[in-house]
């Protein structure tokens, strides 16, 4: 009886050791596979993007908001590592880059909020922004078109809405089917 228990313990120990050694190996295999697929994608065509200044359209959008969206877009698009280079509007070196897409952003809706109202009431005073984002080729062909929202509802200053909006736009571009194909052939339209 005692020998049986001892054997069982040894078997458990061996199983445990096997699991411990097997799992990292499996994880390593997965990482390697993911890296190789990412490598395949990058080896296809690496596109660069030029971020245009935000157009206010028919919306009475404060200039500080337009600048904040533009600056946050540059930062967030750089963070995604989706594009080879992120150019700013007016950059003269963009003409030397081979594959460049242009990101145009037009404000569609803006609800000015109040930080004090948010702090006092919690449910009101939200700053809301809705923009139309278009990713175009140099020839003007629309590759991706989405309506994206960004808002600040509870904590933070009004300008935080621009940060959330830029993050959402970058996320939309990353998750779009254009992004996975790596080719600007299809037009994706929708709302996030």
């Amino acid at each position: 009886m005692k020998t049986g228990k001892c054997n069982l313990s040894i078997a458990c120990l061996i199983a445990l050791v096997a699991i411990v050694f097997a799992v990292p190996g499996q994880l390593f295999g997965q990482t390697a596979a993911a890296e190789s697929s990412a490598g395949d994608r990058t080896s296809a065509t690496r596109w660069s993007v030029q971020v245009d200044q935000v157009e206010s359209g028919n919306v009475d959008l404060a200039y500080s908001f337009q600048i904040a969206i533009y600056e946050n877009l540059v930062v967030e698009l750089n963070k995604t590592k989706q594009f080879q280079q992120v150019f700013r509007d007016g950059d003269v070196t963009v003409s030397e880059a081979p594959n460049v897409l242009v990101l145009k952003t037009t404000a569609e809706k803006y609800t000015p909020g109040s930080e004090t109202r948010r702090a006092v009431t919690t449910v009101s005073g939200a700053t809301k922004l809705t923009v139309r984002s278009q990713l175009l080729t140099r020839e003007g062909k629309v590759v991706l078109e989405r309506t994206v929202n960004g808002d600040v509802r509870f904590f933070g200053s009004n300008l935080r809405a621009t940060h959330n909006l830029a993050r959402n736009i970058a996320k939309t571009i990353t998750q779009s089917s254009w992004s996975s194909s790596g080719q600007p052939t299809t037009t994706v339209t929708g709302q996030l």
Binding site: Q53, A62, Y63, S64, Q66, I67, A68, Y70, E71, N72, F87, R88, D89, G90, D91, V92, T93, P112, G113, S114, E115, T116, R117, A119, V120, T121, G125, F155, S157, N158, L159
Partner: protein
């Protein structure tokens, strides 16, 4: 004798006055000639540097976001010096536009927010009604060496934004015809807060 005395006293009284008048007019003439030269030199680089406390919200050169420091206009550059960090600067000639705005913000930052959230019986909300302050926002648009457009936003104490803008205009920055948002935003904020 009397005649001689009188004539002598006349000459003694007249000649020194004439000499003084001549000397005075020469000095005045010299002053008037040197005054324009002095004015010209004052208009040059000897203009007193402008500086104010500011919070950098985003976009200025390599400055850290939401960092507090000193925004100054010195010579031909606009500098932002954060506390205990090397300063960053942008040439005034590269600034393309300046806009003013106004914001009302809750004071105290994250600690205050957490404190207000933790306060029982909605006490934090009452504090929030009074714990806000109005600021000016100074939005700049400038270009880098490759002509790429950058934007920077600073938060300044109320009234300082106008001074900073005036200083930049005085140093040659051309402001576009966009209307400053300060008045408009203040009205919007006030309307929201009165509701």
């Amino acid at each position: 004798m009397d005649l001689f005395v009188v004539s002598r006293s006349h000459s003694a009284a007249y000649h020194p006055d004439r000499r003084h008048a001549l000397w005075l007019s020469t000095v005045l003439l010299c002053f008037s000639l040197t005054a324009p030269a002095q004015q010209t030199s004052q208009r040059g680089d000897t203009r007193a540097p402008f500086s104010t406390r500011a919070t950098h919200l985003l976009g200025f050169a390599n400055a850290r976001d939401n960092g507090t420091g000193t925004l100054s206009v010195q010579g031909d550059s606009l500098q932002f010096q954060q506390n205990g960090r090397p300063g960053t600067e942008v040439k005034i000639a590269s600034v393309r536009d300046v806009f003013l705005g106004a914001e009302s913000k809750q004071v105290g930052g994250l600690p205050m927010t957490l404190g207000k959230t933790a306060a029982p019986f909605g006490g934090g909300r009452v504090v929030s009604v009074f714990a806000h302050k109005k600021y000016d926002t100074l939005t700049l648009q400038y270009v880098d060496a490759d002509q790429g457009i950058h934007g920077a936003i600073f938060q300044l104490a109320k009234g300082q934004g106008e001074l900073a803008k005036s200083e930049l205009i005085a140093r040659g920055v051309i402001v576009s015809s966009h209307q400053d948002q300060s008045t408009k935003e203040s009205v919007t904020e006030a309307t929201h807060e009165n509701r």
